[in-house]
Amino acid sequence: MSIHNKKLFLLCLATLAGLFVLQFLLSDYLVLAFTRILILAVFAMGYNVLMGYTGLVSLGHAMFFGAGVYGAGLSSYYLGVSLPVAFLAGILAAIALSFLIGLLALRTQTVSFMIVTLMFSQAAFLLILYFSEFTGGDQGLTLPTSARSFSLFGLEVDMTSDVARYNLALTVFGVVLLGLFAFTQGPVGRLLVAVRENEDRTRMLGFDTYAIKLLAFTVSGGISGVAGALYGLMFGYIGSAFAEFKISIEALLFTLVGGPGTLLGPLVGTGLMTLLIDRLSGVTTAYLIVIGALLIVVTLWFPTGILGTLRDRWLPWLK
């Protein structure tokens, strides 16, 4: 199979190499920050499959991130399964949930779609609080010490080590990035864009656009779950804050800033915004005002985000 868009492929490899080297250059604090950025970037990349490539704006992706967090966290906490198994459980939970929600939500479009995904997500959030005896509610649950390390294929990984966490996050990020390269830059990716650009046309070229959208929705939710499961297990804590509305907005914000419908946009957006929020919250508690203002600026003047603008002006292969 020949690789289409070789330039983008090389850029992805270079990015991964750069991220690997980064851990030797940065302070411990920043390594930790970048660990979080990588995981959240996976979340945003999942969101981008639906919002950027397929053109469907969901306001409920916190529920899929949350499904990953809880699917992984609860099976580790209550069933005591090993971390890799718990990780898989989280991903499966997110895939199952997103398939089901997709079946229903994709019957609506545009604004109704946003509202329906938001409602489902809020319902999921409230369920977590309602069953707080089991889920830990807003207090959350801290995973036991036994769940802070695992061995896979003879490799011992200690989840309290910064180096281990960074490289684990980078590995997952790399797998998702290359997987999404194959998914979005091939024929299926072209169909997603076709639905975004003109759904009616795509239907009249003989495609079941509902099936295409459901595929995008499930892949998108599943990847969000990958991020959630990794986040919960890596930091040993699960709580309802992971399924809050704010989480959905973050995915939207990161994707918008970086460039919807560009493969690396979510990484750029997540990196920039996370570091910015980090700095701002040191200066003022009202940092959300700045975020809001920035969102308006991006929407008004750079609707295609940073990488999207680069793509439109100079680098057409950046998609």
Partner: protein, 249 residues
């Protein structure tokens, strides 16, 4: 060519509330034909072909295609059966290149299942798409962004996407609207070329195009078929003249 009926409707009806957009239409088209549907604005021509393509659901009546009842089949499946529809208002993927636009159509034909294994390579798809572009005269514009093409070229791209499906029946909804005279002349050539392999159903206002291309003409008025016949017969049909000119017959 044997006289095989490709598409047949019986009592096809579509009401929008109290409006009878299409009322009890019996229609058939033979394989290999170029058929034009004409009629005043609001006669129900577009609604009728939309009922054929499945974009609009019928209120009652049936549609039979190649001997199969497709009345309840969703639009995308009808396309796979061989009914291609090109839009009245040019409806392409503006941000994609010409080649990519056509690739979407070829993709459907060569690899119908969404998650099937990779039997057909991307190169094969592109080669066929380039071929379809050449047929309509867009062969040297493959990499241009579709949205930046001149209007006439966008219309040709629209046709190329229909062609790339290799349909049995190609429905063209007002294809020459907004084209210049020279573009229309070229377009007529394209339709003749296409007709060698495909049955063509054409909604058209330009009488010159209709008279030179169509073998049979169906005239619609107020949702029903007013007359049907050869171009000459239609020209001299009193009822048709009345409908168009408002003169008493």
């Amino acid at each position: 060519m044997a006289e095989v009926v490709l598409l047949k409707t019986k009592g096809l009806t579509r009401h929008f509330g109290g409006l009878k957009a299409v009322e009890n239409v019996d229609f058939q088209i033979k394989e290999g034909e170029i058929r034009a549907i004409i009629g005043p604005n609001g006669a129900g021509k577009s609604t009728f072909v939309n009922l054929l393509s499945g974009r609009i659901k019928s209120t009652s009546g049936s549609v039979e295609f190649a001997g199969e009842d497709i009345s309840r089949m969703p639009a995308h499946k009808r396309v796979r059966k061989g009914i291609a529809y090109t839009f009245q208002i040019t409806n392409i993927y503006g941000s994609m290149s010409v080649l990519e636009n056509i690739c979407v159509a070829v993709h459907n034909r060569l690899r119908p299942s969404l998650l099937s294994r990779n039997h057909v390579s991307e190169d094969d798809i592109e080669a066929e798409a380039a071929e379809a572009a050449k047929t309509v005269g867009l062969g040297d514009r493959l990499e241009e962004v579709a949205g930046t093409l001149a209007y006439g070229h966008q219309r040709l791209l629209e046709v190329a996407m229909g062609l790339a499906l290799q349909p049995k029946l190609l429905i063209l909804d007002e294809p020459t609207q907004g084209l210049s005279d020279s573009e229309i002349a070229n377009f007529k050539e394209v339709v003749r070329e296409v007709n060698k392999t495909t049955t063509v159903l054409l909604i058209e206002h330009n009488m010159d195009v209709v008279m030179t291309l169509a073998e049979q003409i169906t005239v619609m008025e107020r949702g029903t078929v007013l007359a049907e016949g050869t171009p000459d017969a239609i020209m001299n049909n009193a009822a048709v003249q009345a409908a168009y000119l408002g003169a008493s017959a």
